[in-house]
């Protein structure tokens, strides 16, 4: 076994110093549900492990004065699920985060880890993209913000700079008549990896969709923001023509792989089907139903 150092700093500044100093050999430990598996398989051999869970900013959920939310990157799925308000305002983001793994995994796994692991099939990412989440990054050169859809660079790769740490997700305040939803297609009912995942966030005013965002997962090297699908929904009453156009836009955005979970043809078709179902759930929630 190679030498490993385990560090659990109490402040972000200390974490960044240690993380940046260790260079490529360092790994961030949030829930560890990806990292420990990768270490076990030998895919990753970290020289330094920086545990970020003692840093308050990374492990807290804050409802901001304007009605938005700031979620620390290392907040576990189960903790987010127990927040009294979050799931009411962002039911789609919550159901996506809570789909990651088993009860045991939910006790540890975080949205930050899910994003930084950068799987194209990461469940929380399409919902976070639909929500318009902005992430805060901090590195040796200070803080910056980035829309969540700009983070993934490809399977297992992100656009974070060397030494940068994902600190938190900021979700915007919700106008009246807004809600969201996330659906994924898996061949069984639980504990599987998405064949397609769709997140939809929308705002309805007098039955008309006034704002929408669509995130699409597991059909391209990165999770996608599908602006053409959102455009098809905005201005409509979510009638069949608008939903068909949005579904077609989702299918057109697909650049999937063929694998044991689903063929290219299947994934492309299901992307459209799921868009319609997800939009219907989000619309029902936005109109006040559950």
């Amino acid at each position: 076994m190679t030498d490993i150092r385990y560090l659990s700093p109490n402040t972000l500044d200390e974490a960044i110093k240690a993380f940046a100093a260790a260079g490529n050999a360092a790994r961030i430990l949030a829930g560890g549900t990806d990292l420990l598996v990768q270490m076990r398989s030998g895919a990753v051999k970290p020289g330094v492990i920086v545990d970020i869970k003692k840093i308050a900013e990374m492990t807290t959920i804050e409802e901001t004065a304007d009605g938005g939310f700031r979620i620390g990157a290392a907040v576990a799925g189960a903790v987010l699920g127990e927040h009294p308000r979050f799931g009411k305002v962002w039911p789609g983001v919550l159901e996506a985060v809570n789909l990651i793994g088993s009860t045991q995994v939910q006790g540890r796994a975080s949205a930050g880890g899910n994003l930084c692991n950068s799987s194209p099939a990461a469940d929380s990412v399409p919902a976070m993209i639909a929500a318009g989440a902005i992430v805060t990054l901090q590195g040796p050169n200070g803080r910056r913000e980035m829309p969540v859809e700009k983070v993934p660079a490809g399977p297992g790769r992100t656009h974070l700079l060397p030494g940068e740490i994902l600190v938190s997700f900021a979700l915007p305040p919700r106008p009246k008549g807004s809600s969201d939803a996330y659906l994924r297609m898996i061949p069984r009912t639980e504990m599987d990896i998405a064949v397609v995942g769709v997140g939809v966030s929308l705002t309805l005013k007098d039955g008309v969709c006034t704002a929408a965002r669509v995130g699409l997962g597991a059909v391209a090297p990165t999770v996608l923001l599908v602006e053409a699908a959102a455009k098809a929904l905005i201005g409509s009453k979510l009638d069949a023509a608008a939903l068909n156009a949005a579904a077609a836009a989702c299918s057109a955005a697909c650049r999937p792989i063929d694998d044991k979970r689903g063929t290219i043809v299947y994934r492309t078709k299901v992307a459209g089907v799921l868009l319609k179902r997800t939009a219907a759930i989000a619309a029902k929630r936005a109109a006040g139903g559950n």
């Binding site: 076994m1 385990y6 659990s8 560890g32 598996v37 088993s102 009860t103």
Partner: protein, 160 residues
Amino acid sequence: MSKMHVTTTINGEPMEFLCEPGDTMLDALRGPLGLTGSKEGCASGDCGACSIMLDDRLVCSCLMLSAEAEGRDIRTIEGMAHGEHLHPLQQKFLEVAALQCGICTSGMLVASDALLKKNPKPSEEEVRFWLAGNLCRCTGYDKIVRAVLETAAEMQEAAQ
């Protein structure tokens, strides 16, 4: 390489142990701590045989570094019975034969206990979803699910 010294609480008792920085909590439990009730099935967080409670939250001990135990409160299957008195879930698992080879059993019990503490009256569907991360290759799950539901009903009755 120097070993790390970890001070923690396990089943209510203060404990100290030495570990390598890359060791998992399961390594520490089954190694220096001598608590072999938690089992290693997959070592990748899929099977739940190593389930423990970490500050009252159900986790896989194979997905946690032992160094993370510093200052935390850990509960394992060894802390479930009170001396000779089995926990109602343990008693029920025996009564209805909700186990065969036994490898999954301690994880099943720890996870089921966590469920009943959070949700004392779960539906069958809730039990099945909660235990989706605990794999059993012998029983077909039916007896396990029934054992949890019957225990929940009896504990409710006893509480009234």
